[in-house]
Symmetry: D2
């Protein structure tokens, strides 16, 4: 950690800081410059954070040298984490296709969509039972009834399921009905939810928040992993920027950058990442080419009647075309689709 | 609502849309332009939203004319909402000063801070018992023990208290110990929390999300109000932008704009809005001058020892200076400080 | 065009607007809703813009239906524009690799880099003679001397050259020394420069501004094309967002979206788009997979001695690896590298 | 300067860096941590920048300790810069009101506006002759004819004038016709323009770029000052963010922060900063309260007929009301309006 002091810092203040650093077992280093005084602290700076040195009036800036996350970092664990879910795996040399409608609207709609996807070889089925919506007047999902549909359809089709959990209270019921939990973008900063899911052993797809930096995204994952659940799959789904031509700006850089920084699998969500049906195919291809481990694609047996997000859901013919184009691309990039 | 069709839209598709609009009791209006076909729908378009017309492949764009919120709008209720809390009021011709530390760290620290603030005439005391933190390794508050301290100190000093609630599970216990609930920026999109608080009659300070538009902010308030709790105080606390010289970019425009659009009181948080002790005074003055109804100011008996956010907390002398400058300014702007 | 009036709009004001619309030869359409009055205008709304209806106090909002650009749109010209440059073409089924150093530093450095690139089959050579730099104390290029080096090296190697022009005054001299002009991100809004280049017939790479929307980007291109120069190549190079882990956020959505909206070729700049050497390869692959027409890649014979942007320039071995991975990918996507 | 090395850095590489630092006359400091190796460099790090250490493959991060600007900083010059313009001054204890239309549309319109403003005691008159516009089809100003009107009206009314210069070529003619030059937001990064204006002695209002950080804004000013022209007035005019309810997000924090960092006067532009007529008054008051040195306010004798930006221009009655409210506020804040 590097502590930059204000010009007017007094000797007494400097000594105080140096003492504090030494007191925690780190080695302080005094560097008086021509314009600023700088103090370095050699050792595990995470313990230093508790000192809140930036609160001292004589301190101008504190520059951390180490990253604030640990358990999720490549430095901590070099080999890729592969999340096993009932015989299927996410990460490594797989490119996992997770498809299904935005929301479970009825048993008919969901079963028809799932059956059609299964016929195309898809193993992972998504469908929302609890739908966080910006407006209180929008359709917010079938809730528990939706979870029951999810489970029945999974049993009939033999697919693995992913569904969102929006409140700590719902963790038990969702865990019982689904194979993989999803934490939505709006809940990435819901630290209580992260912690409680960290105390289970359920695989979890963690979506990046709309305005979360990559560092904050990794710290959210660290909440889960540090509680004891290492089965986290990161999902880039677009961030909020000034651009309004698309629903979100998909941060394609985040895919390879995360793969370099963390050992966790990294998938992408081209549906929310663009918000436009016509962009889902090229964006999925970009995710594959950039080294992603999978994609979450909204598909609906009849998007024009969807109760939510119809403009970003593919119909079955569109999804087939996507699969046809993505399969050889994934192969060229050293991945098999599962 | 205005529906813009793609150039290649077929007569059959156009007729389908017109029929749907008429079927919901609205009046459709066909406007064939030279380059685009446009369909208008006259009547309460909120019912139209359920059609999800943007999902139709022939639709290029749907332009809503009405705002999606209703109960919180000035058009719905013209006069200012004034939130009464045990003899004090927020809104109208008051400028409400809410002060206190970021976190309740101990009974001594909190009582000392509260007593000093009370001596300066402050009525509203803030203090966090549950602290959402970006890193799992940071201090996250004293939780229930903190709530008990909050209540005891409130009784001793006769102050009204504000504290954050981070999970639906905690609503009962927080409601019992505090006068006003706070929903933090990271939970503004936690729709379950909004709804459940909407089912109580507790006054609530709702903070704007880091990446929430003004429209989304009002929709979050609409969640609470539409459930039956009209006692909402909006709090602008800065948004996330590309600028890194300050912790957040305080959206000063939001203060007068919200006052024009909604009847709810609007306060500001200069501590999070700038993240810099030296900016809190000028920013508070700007909030007053722009027509705000109050400010939430982090103050600490000894900021340099604070367990969180020390760099943006004022000490008692700094807070006194702030009060001395803000008081005549508020008067000039037609407000009395309470 | 749709004009939404304020609730309190008077009959006289409404009549005034209707008259104005009719006066310009468009057909006005009066739509009195339950809460708002809306007026539609059928016909070429571009003429309507001159009325500045949004300035009228009774007008709440003006919603344009048509896009403000014309000559660059796919609706205006359906087939892809292919820019021919001395026997080579950009656009269509080509994926154009433009490589070379950020800045021309000396004849030795530039010739060595060019020769090495030429040996790898590269036809397009980039190199900056005028370097816009954020700080007045940074290296700002060799200027005219750099242009002369550029020309000599082009002659020796038989390569086509791209270089930036930063001021209207320099257009003649840069045009004389280079094959393709570049307008940098910081000049995308320099309308005088756009216009003057529009009056030449030089091919031009137009980079998207740091904070430019896709619509503004296309309007910048419209400035050039509407002056008579149709030889514009659009270049996505990343936008500025809150994320600081990368230099810019590459807007991958922009690549396919632009290809759908405009007939102009669309290339990407993975060097500025990420600012990190380790991301250039995956990002280039994403550009290919998303349907881009080329890439602008900073390469340097010895990046560690570069006078600018060394951290985002590839050395020759890294560039070779990139070419080896990108070539089969481009083929799979139906493109040949040139 | 702090240089953080990658874990795998070799002794040879470390020695190379240490040698380079020493070779430039700075004192290197070797700090081997448990996880990272850090090298400090004590002395004037500006000379170090030329080494481009971030280009070295073994370097993970370079953390500058000193700010990259010098001449504009408070550390360089403590007392406020006051810009004198023909008997009037900007900065210090003045709050300078600069008013006038967005564009000079005709001699009648401009003279009428100026005369009405003069009658209200206004000394500084703005009016655009060259108007940068996003679309090539919008009104772009009367150009030289506009400059002549500007000069004649200034002579008739005895006012001081401010007008924008958009191209290096126009500096002589604009300098001859106006008292103060303006560099618009879209040209803040036009380094050639900055430099050339730095070679004159004309006072200049420098507007912050839409996506410019405060540091980049100050570096743009440094370009002018370091060339020899110290007469720079900084103007915050709003930045681009995700919020679309207002045209821009006015960064109110920037006003007091700039006043702390730099000795140059800092004014605000509430017209562009909000883009909404109804927000101009509260925003101007916020600028005063936050410690600003002036405001640039678009006023028009008849905004509803304005050829550009009518929705953000005040009419004379609105401007009078603004002046009436701002005058006592400025006094309370220790400023006199000029």
């Amino acid at each position: 950690m590097i502590i930059v002091l204000k010009k007017e810092a007094q000797k007494k203040q400097i000594d105080y800081i140096i003492e504090k650093i030494a007191g925690l077992g780190l080695k302080p280093l005094y560097m008086p410059g021509t314009e600023k005084i700088v103090i370095g602290a050699i050792g595990d700076e995470r313990v230093l954070r508790s000192l809140n040195l930036e609160s001292l009036p004589c301190v101008e800036q504190v520059v951390p040298i180490l990253k604030p996350y640990k358990a999720v970092s490549r430095e901590f664990k070099q080999e890729d984490t592969i999340v096993e879910v009932r015989g299927q795996s996410i990460g490594g040399n797989k490119f996992t296709m997770i498809a299904g409608p935005c929301a479970i609207e009825s048993e008919e709609q969901f079963l028809a969509t799932a059956t059609a996807l299964r016929a195309q070889g898809i193993n992972f089925l998504r469908g929302g039972a609890y739908k966080p919506r910006t407006s209180p007047y929008s359709f917010t999902g079938l809730e528990e009834k939706g979870l029951e549909i999810l489970k029945r359809v999974a049993e009939k089709t033999g697919m693995l399921t992913v569904t969102e959990v929006v409140d700590t209270m719902d963790i038990p019921v969702v865990s019982e009905h689904a194979d993989i939990l999803q934490i939505g973008a709006r809940n990435m900063h819901n630290f209580r939810l992260l912690k409680k899911i960290g105390q289970t052993q359920k695989p979890v797809v963690l979506k990046r928040g709309l305005a979360a930096t990559i560092e904050e995204f990794l710290l959210a994952a660290e909440y889960i992993v540090s509680e004891g659940n290492p089965r986290v799959i990161l999902c880039e789904r677009g961030i909020r920027t000034f651009e309004t031509a698309t629903r979100n700006t998909f941060d394609i850089n985040a895919v390879p950058l995360l793969k370099q920084i963390t050992h966790l699998p990294v998938i992408g969500d081209p549906s929310h990442g663009s918000g436009k049906r016509s962009l889902i195919l090229p964006l999925t291809k970009a995710i594959v080419a950039a080294g992603g481990d999978g994609a979450l694609i909204e598909t609906h047996i009849s998007p024009e009647t969807a109760l939510s997000d119809g403009e970003q859901q593919l119909n079955m013919a569109e999804f087939k075309r996507l699969l046809d184009e993505v399969t050889p691309l994934a192969q060229l990039c050293g991945k098999t689709i599962n």
